[in-house]
């Protein structure tokens, strides 16, 4: 008679191995700076004990409170961390040294601590980061004027993210968007977390679809001041603006990485096609050749391919064009109305919005090779105009799930969807970028 116990044991062992795989930590050592990048597989957050910054004196304590709030708010915004206050026994009573056992006892991996002092009348922030073995991962000073407390705090956040994930972060980046708060649709800019809203245009007309170049130098948008849709391109350092005025439309710009050129839809040759335009407003070359609407260009990060919307096969779908060969192939086959593509900074994914049979519009994500279609929003009227953060970790979009159109953000996997800012009127057409 066959012994059936052995195959069962083997099966159990195999099963256990398979279950253990997702829990394995991947550690990468970077030789130069001697820090460890810890990245857990799956969507688990990194647990951090964030201690209050030490400070002596009224001014210093005030700065410390402000810096701590900025750091906590900034780290919280990313959705990457579980932030915990320091347990009561974080310091050894006798000598004030750090009790690393207390950190791991609350389930944390990382300890962040700092001190604020005053040097020449200005704030000085000293930050240290440790892992649970007591190894110091970061020891850095940050200085600035007392008007720059937010920038100082965010600079630390940015360093911490880079330390722990190896990636750039959203801190210091900006979002441009359209709002009708004044009664006219104008372009505005705000910080990554919705703070410091600034009005950029005062056309008292209609200003739409703002887009900043990847290097943060130029802002392009469509403006109706002349009575028709013209393309404006503003140099953000010199503050000069070039205009492209052509019969027909000049709409919906998308910047080509690595060049001072943006693609836009013009109808000068009788049909809505995509053309490249230089930052000084002169025409560069025509990109698409097909009857029907071609609109909404977005480029792969190395600038060799363009995804765009075309009705060349009937309904609006996303297509990809190779800029060298001119070859075009269709990306989306699901759905009947796919528009607003956005190519990820890493080059692997494309977001777009799709209008569904019941009239809802939702945001989808697809691999650049057409595989792996994922729906990121659902069940809430219209979610559209997705834009990637420059580090690829988050997405900003427009949603009217709470009634009027507002800006929302979510993590790149669709989780943690929430409103970005409070502002009168409707907000839409966000574009996330760095600004020089």
């Amino acid at each position: 008679m066959r012994n059936t116990r052995i195959p069962i044991v083997r099966t159990i062992i195999a099963l256990c191995c398979m279950l253990m795989l997702p829990l394995m930590l991947r550690a990468e050592e970077v030789k130069e700076k001697e820090y460890i990048v810890i990245r857990k597989q799956g969507t688990e957050r990194i647990s951090i004990v964030l201690d209050k910054s030490a400070a002596k004196g009224d001014r210093e304590s005030e700065w410390a409170r402000s810096l701590d709030a900025t750091i906590k708010g900034g780290l919280d915004f990313t959705g990457l961390f579980n932030l915990m206050a320091a347990p009561g026994n974080i310091r050894n009573a006798q000598d004030g040294t750090i009790n690393f056992g207390a950190i791991s006892s609350v389930g944390s991996d990382i300890y962040v601590t700092g001190a604020v002092s005053k040097k020449s009348g200005e704030p000085n922030l000293d930050m240290q980061v440790y892992d649970i073995t007591g190894k110091q991962l970061l020891n850095r000073k940050y200085t600035g004027t007392d008007k720059q407390l937010r920038e100082i705090g965010l600079r630390f956040c940015s360093d911490l993210i880079e330390l722990l994930t190896g990636k750039k972060s959203v801190f210091g980046t900006k979002i441009v968007f359209v709002s009708n708060r004044t009664g006219f649709k104008e372009i505005y800019m705000c910080d990554f977390d919705g703070q410091n809203i600034e009005q950029i245009t005062s056309s008292r007309s209609i200003s739409l679809t703002p887009a900043v170049s990847q290097d943060g130098k130029y802002l392009a948008w469509t403006d109706y001041t002349s009575g028709r849709p013209d393309l404006y391109i503003k140099n953000l350092s010199t503050k000069t603006t070039a205009a492209l005025r052509k019969p027909g439309v000049c709409i919906d710009p998308g910047w080509l990485p690595g060049k001072d050129e943006c693609a836009t839809t013009l109808s000068i040759d009788g049909d809505q096609e995509i053309y490249l335009v230089k930052a000084d407003g002169t025409l560069s070359r025509r990109l698409t050749k097909s009857r029907g609407i071609d609109v909404s260009p977005t480029f792969s990060p190395e600038g060799s391919r363009m995804a765009f919307v075309s009705t060349r096969e009937g309904k609006p779908h996303i297509f990809i064009q190779d800029l060298k060969t001119g070859n075009v192939h269709r990306l989306t086959f699901s759905g009947n109305y796919n528009t607003q593509p956005a190519w990820s900074p890493a080059g692997d994914k494309i977001l777009y919005s799709s209008m569904q049979k019941n009239g809802e519009i939702n945001i989808f994500m697809i691999n650049a090779d057409g595989s792996g279609l994922l729906q990121l929003t659902s069940g809430t009227k219209a979610n559209e105009y997705p834009s990637w953060s420059p580090d690829g970790s988050m997405i900003v979009f427009t949603s009217n799930r709470q009634g009027r159109r507002k800006l929302f953000v979510m993590n790149a996997d669709g989780t943690n969807q929430r409103a970005l800012l409070q502002m009168d009127g409707e907000q839409q057409q966000p574009s996330w970028s760095i600004i020089r």
């Binding site: 209609i206 027909g248 439309v249 839809t265 909404s296 109305y337 105009y385």
Partner: protein
């Protein structure tokens, strides 16, 4: 009445009418004298219907039969007012995405313009501009409102 001479029967109605006419003779209605002929009027252009908006189906820029009919009326106005130029504004309803709708609005305006040109209107008199979904006629959020917004609107320059 069955024994009445059939030949006499067809006299009944005229007889009744004569009787009625005689009865009505009690009131004499005198028609007033005709009014004097009006003085000759200054020459005026033929009265043509003014131009009016034309409408489209969702996500389409093709001309429906009723749109073509309205465009013919608009062409008649344009022919009768040869010195006028117009702007054809293309519009969309709020559904769908703004940028795509900008392009669609223009296709609608172009579509209407081509039809008018084929009817003999000089293209230099017809400018087109698209407003996408930016300037709805009806701010409502239902099919009734949307149908009114999918239009080409004619504006005298």
């Amino acid at each position: 009445m069955t024994n009445v001479n059939p030949k006499a029967r067809f006299l009944y109605i005229p007889a009744l009418l004569l009787l009625g006419a005689c009865c009505c003779d009690k009131e004499v209605v005198t028609t007033p004298p005709p009014p004097p002929p009006p003085p000759p009027a200054a020459p005026v252009a033929a009265v043509v219907a003014p131009m009016s908006d034309v409408f489209f189906d969702f996500d389409r820029s093709e001309l429906t039969a009723s749109t073509q009919s309205q465009l013919k009326t608009n062409a008649a106005w344009l022919s009768a007012n040869a010195k006028k130029s117009v702007i054809l504004e293309g519009h969309c309803d709020e559904r769908g995405t703004n940028e795509y709708n900008m392009a669609l609005g223009e296709r609608r305006a172009q579509s209407a313009k081509e039809y008018l040109v084929n009817l003999g209107i000089n293209p230099s008199r017809l400018k087109t501009v698209s407003f996408g979904e930016e300037k709805p006629f009806d701010p409502g959020h239902n099919e009734e409102a949307w149908a009114k917004n999918r239009r080409v609107h004619f504006v005298e320059e």
